[in-house]
C-alpha cells in the first residue's frame, strides 16, 4: 500500500481570531499553529493503520513555507514514513490541490487521504479537486473504511445517516470522526522523525481564481438575560413571544 496523506497547518483551536486595521488580512501575530485535526486524527492515523496491516509506506505532503516543517515532523513522529513539502504559499484550495496533484500524478498511490475539511477555511475542496485532476473516485466524510484486497468498503457520513459504498483502489478519500483514533507521538517516534526524509520541491505555476477581500467577526450577542430557575414558564414565554423560536 502506497498511501499519500495531505496535511495542512491551521491556527490552534483556541486562537483569538482578529484582522488587520482595514480587515483585509488575518492577524497572525501570536497565533500558534497545529496540524489540521481532521488530517491528523483521522486521515493520517487511518493511513498508518493500513500501512501497519498491509505493508508499504505512508507519505505526507504539505504545501507551504519552511515554518510548516514542525507540523510535518509531527506527522512523521506519529508514524508517517516520508514527507514532501511543496514550497509555495497555500493561497487557495485550488492552488494546493494543483500542487499535490502534480506531485502525485506519476507516483501511482493506492490511496490519497485527507481530513474532511480544514478548521480555518472550512472549504472541503482540496480532496475533490485532487481527485478530478487525477481522474479518480472521491469519497467524502468517510467515518469507516475496510479494505479487502483491492476492494474498499467505505462508510460516508451524510445528513442524518450514512452511505456505505464499495469501490476499487486507487481513490481519494476525506476522513471524518470515527475513521481512526487520535495517536499521541511517543519519544521513539519523535526521535525517529528527525531522521526520516523530508523532501522540499518547488511549486508549479498556478493562479487562484478567487480571493478574500474582507474579513468580519460575527455580530456580538447583546448580553445574556438570566431567568429565575423557579420560573421555567417565563423562559418558555420569552422563547415564544420575544425570540419567536417556538
Amino acid at each position: 500500500m502506497n498511501l499519500l496523506v495531505c496535511i495542512s497547518k491551521t491556527p490552534e483551536t483556541t486562537a483569538k481570531i482578529s484582522f488587520n486595521a482595514d480587515s483585509t488580512e488575518f492577524n497572525t501575530e501570536g497565533i500558534q499553529y497545529i496540524m489540521n485535526p481532521y488530517d491528523e486524527w483521522y486521515a493520517l492515523v487511518r493511513a498508518i493503520e493500513l500501512q501497519e496491516a498491509m505493508g508499504g509506506k505512508v507519505v505526507v505532503i504539505n504545501v507551504g513555507p519552511a515554518e510548516n516543517d514542525i507540523v510535518i515532523r509531527k506527522a512523521l513522529a506519529i508514524g508517517a514514513d516520508e514527507a514532501i513539502r511543496i514550497d509555495g504559499e497555500a493561497k487557495s484550495a485550488s492552488y494546493v490541490a494543483k500542487q499535490i496533484a502534480e506531485y502525485a500524478k506519476d507516483k501511482s498511490f493506492d490511496m490519497i487521504l485527507l481530513g474532511k475539511e480544514s478548521i480555518d477555511y472550512n472549504g472541503s475542496l482540496v480532496g475533490a479537486m485532487i481527485a478530478e485532476y487525477l481522474d479518480l473516485p472521491f469519497l467524502s466524510y468517510a467515518s469507516k473504511m475496510k479494505l479487502e484486497g483491492n476492494e474498499a468498503t467505505v462508510t460516508c457520513d451524510i445528513e442524518g445517516g450514512v452511505e456505505v459504498l464499495k469501490l476499487q483502489i486507487p481513490f481519494v478519500v476525506s476522513a471524518s470522526k470515527g475513521m481512526a483514533e487520535q495517536r499521541i507521538p511517543n519519544m521513539r517516534g519523535i526521535m525517529m522523525s528527525k531522521k526520516k526524509p523530508l523532501e522540499v520541491i518547488g511549486p508549479v505555476d498556478f493562479s487562484a481564481k478567487e480571493q478574500i477581500t474582507k474579513y468580519q467577526l460575527p455580530a456580538e450577542k447583546s448580553g445574556v438575560r438570566l431567568i429565575d430557575p423557579q420560573d421555567m414558564d417565563e423562559l418558555v414565554r420569552l422563547l415564544h413571544e420575544e425570540a419567536k423560536v417556538i
Partner: protein, 317 residues
C-alpha cells in the same frame, strides 16, 4: 447564458433547503437578466414543484449512482456546458461538498463553499462565507467566467415565486459508475442535526449516559434534535454524529439549548451562529453565558424536567 442549480431529492422528495436553493438561483438569474435552470433527480411530478420557487426551466434525470462524485461531475459539467451555464449552484451538504471542488477543477472556474449571501455583481461577484467554523466571515471575489458555489441553508430564506415552467427529461443513461452503493441508512423519526431548527444539546455536566432520559424527553416535547459536546461523544456516551463544534458539526439552528456544557471556544465555534441560545449551567461563571441570549443558573437535574413540564403546558396551550 444561464444559471444552473443542481437540486437533489432525498427519498424522492424535496426538503425546504431545496426550495431555498431554487430561490437563490432564480434571484441570481434575475439580477443577471438570464434564466434559472434546475437540474434534479426527482420524478417529474415532484420536479414540477420547483416551478413554484423560481425555476425558469426544470430538467430531470434518473440515475442510480448519485453518490459517485466522478460520474456526477461529468454529468453536471456536460449539462452546464450544453446549457451555457456561467454559474452552478449546489447545496452546502455532504453531496454538494463532494462535487463542488471537482466541478470547479473540471470547468476551470472560481469556487467558494458554504456561501451565505447573494453575489454582489458590482464587486467581482463577491460572496460571503463563514470561516474558522463560525468564528468569522470572509468576503470572496470570484474572478473566472465560470463560477460554482455551494449555498448554506437559511441564507436567504424560502419564498414562493411562480414560473410557468414544465419539466423536461435529460437522458443520463450513458453515464456509468464504478462506485457501488451497498446501503443507505438514515436515522428515522428525527430531523438530521445539520438541518434541525431546534437543538437540545448536553455536555459533561450530565455525569453519565444513563442520565440522558431528561434530554431526550425535552427534545421530544420540542420536536428538537439532540446534540452533545466533544468529550461526551469521545467517551461514547452519545454517538459521534451528535458532536457539534469546531471539530464536529457546525450548526445554525433557530434555537440551541446548551445543558451542562461549559462553552469552550471550540464548542462555541460550531454553534455561535444559532439564532437564539439558551444556556443551563450551575456555574454562573461558565463562559457559555457570554454567548447566550437566555441563561438559567441552576442544577440541570432540577431545572430540565421542569422546563419540560412548562413546554408541555405551552404545547397543549
Amino acid at each position: 447564458m444561464s444559471i444552473l442549480v443542481y437540486i437533489e431529492a432525498i427519498n424522492g422528495n424535496f426538503k425546504k433547503a431545496a426550495y431555498e436553493l431554487c430561490n437563490y438561483g432564480c434571484k441570481l438569474a434575475e439580477s443577471m437578466s438570464t434564466q434559472c435552470i434546475a437540474l434534479t433527480n426527482a420524478d417529474s411530478s415532484v420536479a414540477q414543484k420547483l416551478s413554484n420557487y423560481g425555476a425558469d426551466k426544470i430538467v430531470n434525470f434518473s440515475h442510480e449512482a448519485l453518490h459517485d462524485s466522478k460520474m456526477m461531475t461529468k454529468l453536471i459539467s456536460d449539462f452546464a456546458k450544453a446549457n451555457d451555464a456561467s454559474v452552478v449552484i449546489l447545496a452546502d451538504n455532504s453531496r454538494g461538498k463532494s462535487l463542488l471542488g471537482r466541478i470547479a477543477t473540471r470547468m476551470d472556474g472560481s469556487v467558494v463553499s458554504s456561501v451565505t449571501t447573494l453575489p454582489d455583481l458590482t464587486n467581482q461577484f463577491a460572496v460571503d462565507k463563514s470561516l474558522f467554523s463560525g468564528k468569522s466571515v470572509g468576503t470572496f471575489q470570484m474572478v473566472s467566467n465560470f463560477k460554482i458555489i455551494s449555498v448554506s441553508r437559511n441564507s436567504i430564506g424560502v419564498q414562493e415565486i411562480s414560473k410557468p415552467s414544465n419539466v423536461e427529461t435529460f437522458d443520463a443513461s450513458s453515464y456509468s459508475s464504478d462506485v457501488s452503493l451497498v446501503e443507505t441508512t438514515r436515522v428515522q423519526g428525527t430531523v438530521p442535526l445539520p438541518e434541525a431548527e431546534l437543538v437540545v444539546s448536553a455536555g459533561r455536566g450530565m455525569k453519565g449516559p444513563e442520565n440522558w432520559g431528561i434530554i431526550e424527553e425535552l427534545a421530544e416535547t420540542l420536536g428538537a434534535t439532540t446534540a452533545c459536546s466533544r468529550p461526551v461523544s469521545d467517551s461514547g456516551w452519545r454517538p459521534h454524529h451528535e458532536h457539534v463544534g469546531q471539530t464536529g458539526i457546525a450548526i445554525k439552528p433557530n434555537l440551541y439549548i446548551a445543558i451542562g456544557i461549559s462553552g469552550a471556544i471550540q464548542h462555541l465555534a460550531g454553534v455561535n451562529n444559532s439564532k437564539t441560545i439558551v444556556v443551563i449551567n450551575k456555574d454562573s461563571e461558565a463562559p457559555f453565558f457570554k454567548a447566550a441570549d437566555y441563561g438559567v443558573v441552576a442544577d440541570l437535574f432540577d431545572v430540565v424536567p421542569r422546563l419540560n413540564e412548562s413546554l408541555k403546558k405551552f404545547k397543549e396551550g
